[in-house]
């Protein structure tokens, strides 16, 4: 059986590994490369590394560093941040990324999703969606690292990106991000039930129980988290043992 995935997310700003709250108040928590090495040594299911300032600074992804991350990664690696063109995607894959996360660029030109899927296969195209709950309980999508409202409702956008050829959706709740209070289960489940591609839940995980909720109530296929790993003693492996004890199919063969 295909396993659900437990994924650490590494946010990368300048030379540092950072974590914020609500896409703000970034706090330095280390450096990226050693973190990639540690998670790789722990044989995590997958890693997501996002350069959070590349788009705002209007610069290209830092290919040299990305190559170093890929060099240390013997598990699937998703790279995001500053991806604007098919050439950016090609360069990232050439650096050793297995998948590429597209966010802001997809709003400006949705056809980049289709082009990327046609050229490289939908399996390597992850569309990252950052959403915030509005006063009417709907969720609106935001671009530019959560700073610009797009006017798009999240379910409609999720269905659109699936139709355009996305292989996976990484859905992040902007206001839950960094709070460790739990995922926005309403948001996760809305998106998961609206599409047929795998959905990675993100934003708000603080306990293993939150993972369980995102997978059961939220119906996600994967759970991403950052603060939980940076600021507590919790680990991806312990998370999986917890999920396994509650009947979720996870990969634990790294124990044998």
């Amino acid at each position: 059986m295909l396993k659900v995935r437990v994924i650490p997310t590494l946010l990368w700003k300048g030379a540092g590994l950072v974590k914020g709250v609500g896409f703000d108040s970034w706090r330095r928590v280390g450096t990226v490369l050693p973190a990639v090495k540690v998670y790789n040594m722990r044989e995590v299911d997958e890693l997501i590394v996002v350069d959070i300032t590349a788009t705002a600074e209007e610069r290209q992804p830092d290919y040299e560093s990305i190559q170093e991350f890929a060099y240390e990664s013997f598990v699937p690696l998703t790279m995001g941040g500053g991806v604007r063109s098919i050439n950016d995607i090609r360069s990232l894959l050439r650096c050793g990324a297995d998948k590429v996360a597209i966010n802001t660029a997809a709003y400006a030109d949705p056809s980049i999703i289709t082009k990327a899927a046609d050229v490289f296969g939908s399996q390597c195209v992850v569309v990252s969606i950052d959403a915030k709950r509005q006063s009417d309980e709907r969720h609106q999508c935001y671009s530019h690292c959560g700073s610009k409202p797009t006017g798009l409702e999240v379910v409609q956008w999720a269905q659109k990106v699936e139709e355009l050829g996305a292989g996976e959706i990484l859905i992040t709740s902007i206001e839950r991000d960094g709070t460790m209070e739990g995922y926005d289960l309403d948001l996760i489940s809305k998106v998961s039930t609206a599409v047929n591609i795998p959905v990675i839940a993100s934003g708000g995980a603080g306990t293993y129980e939150h993972f369980y909720q995102a997978l059961t109530q939220g119906k996600a296929q994967a759970v991403a988290a950052a603060s939980l790993y940076h600021f507590t003693e919790q680990t991806p492996l312990q998370a999986k043992l917890y999920l396994k004890s509650k009947g979720i199919h996870v990969r634990t063969s790294q124990l044998t």
Binding site: M1, L2, K3, R5, N40, E43, D45, A70, Y71, F74, V75, P76, L93, R94, C95, G96, D98, G121, S122, Q123, G167, E168, N196, I197, P198, Q221, R251, S253, Q254, T256
Partner: protein, 205 residues
């Protein structure tokens, strides 16, 4: 020992190179068919569509070189993902196309068996041995490996199926014919169990 990773102009081969290096192999990536003459082990990786890959293999002069080393010189060969599929007689991705014809069989599209089954098959899934084989030494039955694919190898005869994976009703995820091996998963992205497969392959002479 000299491992040659075949570069037929499609996709990133760095991960494969890195994993073989990590397993202590002396390994090169080559786009020159003549390099196979010095190979102790050949790796045929692959990302992309069957027909595009075969076109490239013909255009770059790999076809005869691979067949010669694998059949006449008995050099151990490992096909990974699309590389495994290319070992077949024919594939249908991108139009009916002749493969390398090294393991009898055809390549077909995965067909979902439940509404929850998605194609491509992406993620960690179990590997079960169908036959005992040195390639799987030290690998517990049911170990998870990383898969990314939409097509699967259907061997002409059960004797060539050495491993299977429970998805779409079960498909053959490892094949063998003499010194020629293929795995549908990515050992280079499956960490320790993947390294073990690579080490076992390197121990086959």
């Amino acid at each position: 020992m000299q491992v040659v990773v075949i570069d037929y102009g499609m996709g990133n081969l760095q991960s494969v190179l890195r994993a073989f290096e990590e397993c202590g192999a002396d390994v090169i990536i080559s786009d020159q068919p003549a390099s196979l003459k010095t190979a102790s082990h050949i790796v045929l990786p692959g990302v992309g569509a069957f027909s595009d890959a075969m076109n490239q293999i013909h255009a770059m002069g790999w076809h005869d070189a691979i067949r010669h080393e694998a059949i006449q010189s008995h050099v151990p060969l490992l096909g990974i993902c699309l590389g495994m599929q290319l070992l077949a007689d024919t594939g249908c991705e991108g139009g009916q196309t002749q493969g390398l014809g090294l393991v009898p069989g055809t390549v077909q599209k995965l067909v979902p068996d439940t509404p929850q089954t998605h194609i491509p098959h992406v993620g960690w899934n179990e590997f079960h041995r169908v036959q005992d084989h040195p390639l799987f030494e030290g690998i517990a039955d049911g170990t998870d490996f990383y898969f990314v694919h939409s097509y699967h190898f259907k061997p002409a005869s059960g004797q060539h199926a050495i491993g299977s994976t429970p998805y779409c009703g079960g498909f053959v995820s490892a094949v063998q014919s003499d010194n020629i091996f293929g795995v549908q998963f990515h050992p280079e992205k499956s960490h320790r169990p993947g390294f073990r497969i690579i080490e076992n392959f390197l121990n086959i002479n």
